[in-house]
Amino acid sequence: MGISRRNFIKGSCLTAGAVALTGKQSEAGVDSPEMRTKGLQTSTTVCPYCAVGCGMIVHTKNGKIVNIEGDTEHPINQGSLCSKGSALFQVANNERRLDKVQYRAPGSDKWEEKSWDWAMQRMAKLMKETRDRNFVTEEEINGTTYTVNRNDGMAMLGAAALDNEECYLLGKFARAMGVGYLEHQARI
């Protein structure tokens, strides 16, 4: 990581000095006057709530997030956050977060814990069966037969909460599966 003298001086005055340079993860300077975050790893992120796109600094220690605050270097929010943005810490540290694959059998009244392997194989099998059973290769419309190659047996909803790259992958997967019923929050 290249550090110019000017930026180094500027950076050393900041909690997230190193972040100000590249945004990538690095260790806060040991001479940081901000003892609160001394020795912590820092990285940048953008708020997941509304679409203003406020910058945030995430402080971590031993693989745990210990603090999240507004990024003072960010040109839009300049360090400020609203009530929701200020609470992002509790998304990362929350006992209500899902941490296991859960499965509910037909007619059951409870979840069962499953492995990713089991769930993936089962989901893939169900998706394939649904696609194969409901695949519309051709459709007759106003007396003409057209090739439509569409899977009318499943719908996919989401995902404004996904990153762009994830949206791209999801869309690519959906279209390869022939899914026409693909919608998300932007419509509502």
């Binding site: 993860q25 649904t130 569409r150 909803l157 026409g180």
Partner: protein, 796 residues
Amino acid sequence: MTNHWIDIQHADVIVCIGSNPAENHPVSFKYVEKAMDNGAKLISVDPRYTRTSSKADIYAQLRPGTDIAFMGGLINYLLTNDLIQKEYVVHYTNAAFLVSEDFDFNDGLFSGYDPENFSYNKESWAYQLNDNGMPKRDDTLEHPRSVYQLMKKHYARYTPEKVCEITGTEIQSYMEVARTIASTHKADKVATVMYAMGTTQHTYGTQNVRSYAMLQLLLGNIGMAGGGINALRGESNVQGSTDYAILYHILPGYLKVPTYDNVNLAAYNEKWTPKTNDPQSANWWSNTPKYMTSLLKAYWGEAATEQNDFCYDYLPKRSGNYSYIRLMERLQNGGFEGMVFMGTNPIVGGPDVNAIASGMDKLKWLVAVDLWETESSVFWKRPGVDPKSIDTEVFLLPAASSVEKEGSISNSGRWTQWRYKAVNPPGHAESDAFIVHQWVTHLKKLYQEDGVFPEPIVDLAWNYGDGHEPDIDLVARECNGRFTRDVVIKGKAFKKGEQVPSFAYLQADGSTTSGNWLYCNSYTEEGNMMQRRGKEDPTGMGFYPNWAWCWPVNRRVLYNRASVDLQGRPWNPKKPIISWNSMTRKWEGDVPDGGWVPMNEDETKSPFIMIPEGYGRLFAAGLADGPLPEHYEPMESPVANAMTSQQCNPAVAIPGKINNSGKYPYVGTTYRVSEHWQAGAMTRNLPWLVELVPDMFVEISEELAESKSLKNGDMVTISSERGQIEARVLVTERIKPLRVQGKLVEQVGMPWHFGFNGLATGGTANTLTAAVGCANTTIPEFKAFLCNIEKGGINS
């Protein structure tokens, strides 16, 4: 947004209509206040007196769903008093264009109406063409068939008195709004419009937006610093997820999803590539074939060749409208075996949620991917339902939060910013990218063995490394696109495998790939532009061109060539976005909207480059429900349409479960609060936020409280034709009854964040809303419906 958040500081007048940024986009208000510090006037137009209203210079109350009447009156005011930016209007909009003699409007119906199909034959909405196939025009704007004169006639009916009778606005405030907005018709004055779902969630939502855009075009405010038409998007990446087309009708970069009759790639290109006879029109969508082939190459890689139409047959073809409401109707009819929910909660966020939930009972399988146990993922144990009676197999997959994975998101101002992974997700949680990757990997294996039409899956290009997760860096590179062979384009040589520098270099011959042409330039040979953190602001205008990256091609303000006069000089020299340097013969400032010479020179192009004719559309023939916005009442309304005998938008079929009988006397509307977000899972599970707003509530006026003997905190039951919920009543002077056509109309407001599951629970407002949508987009009419309120909870 045509502009971006920081740019709001340059406005002279800020119009918040159908939005409440002080509450819902709080940090954006930094720039509203900055503009106000410099003398800008803030106008808040809203049914409720909101946090934004409390900061406003002028507050104008309007009844939910009457935006077009409100705007129609303003357009009338501008045209009657000649308070438009005439040079801009003549040269940059279609005001001077002549419209077919067959076009007509009569008692709420435009010409070509087909009552059986609730639709229009739009043939008569066309321009008159000259011998060269170009629209005829009259630059004096006096021709009776000119767009200007037709518009003037159409909106002459919207007198201030008539408007206020419909909207319920006090006429003094209305006239103050009109005068204040009109003050920006001067070339160097500008107003911005900040709108959100209060605008769009109506059966004529698109026309609401259109009416704002028309106002801005007449005032010469589009393309200007501090101007434009700015949608305040509600989710951090809903701009990106739209750009990436998680929607039934578009492919990445707003390419059209092929319809059944686009039988091959040539037919697709013929149908969806717009044409123009005007040599002065850039007609940017003429590049459609290049973008489409590059997408197909990104999807199916080596398998996509010129000989096999680049695997065009692999794409599903649609033969109908598969939008959210239609999709949910199909669900209720048992049309789906399975559904996948990626971080979405339809039985809180959708319209008429009881109907959606009972539709879900018919699924064979459901996969929900989320951070939390949402209402939708536990639909099988919702109140009043016996789980034993529901045969759905349900998978709930634990997902990574935004700080537990890496990737980009696009904000409302189109800034695409990178987020880094700070920690691993908890327990067995995984990123959405991992989950999609696993599905693809498993299905590829299965379809290699057998299956119906396996090719699209087997041949799918899926090369994102050998790691536990797909390599997001490789995905981001693919979204941008690369060259598939050594080529020379526009005199520049490129090597196979190099990143494409911008969409201007994409090709229709298979020599380029691009997963999203609009993002081509986001990841070049110079690196990942979305990661940039340069703080330089060379123009002092707040563009921050080296901070992250913004589509298209890092242009910070769209239509910016409309911000200059015909010589290329900024209309407002004090706040230039771009200006033409006649010495260097180059544009300076922001990335210009196409680099062509100014309008007074040969080889120029008109500034509205995405429109085939090149001019801003005051008259828009492409819409489903008319070329000029016209006032109709919401599907459910307490009054008759005072403008015409067409009660509702004639281009929307009247659905079931609508009740205008008087049984439900109050106008209901929904909204959000600062402390909660959308369908609630991301906030109702956070103790800090739950402490701030723990309960579902309904806001009612002091007058209604008195007539119903209700006091603050009382439990009430709110009912509509769709269902009923209970909530605590919040009696407030922020909501006032409106005087509409001589009648006092009470309105009630509710947040829509609550549901039966989570740390904080409460009645779901969307139990009350109707599954009826906009004629153009089918967005549900969440913002205006009829309901009743009675004292006591549901079981009292």
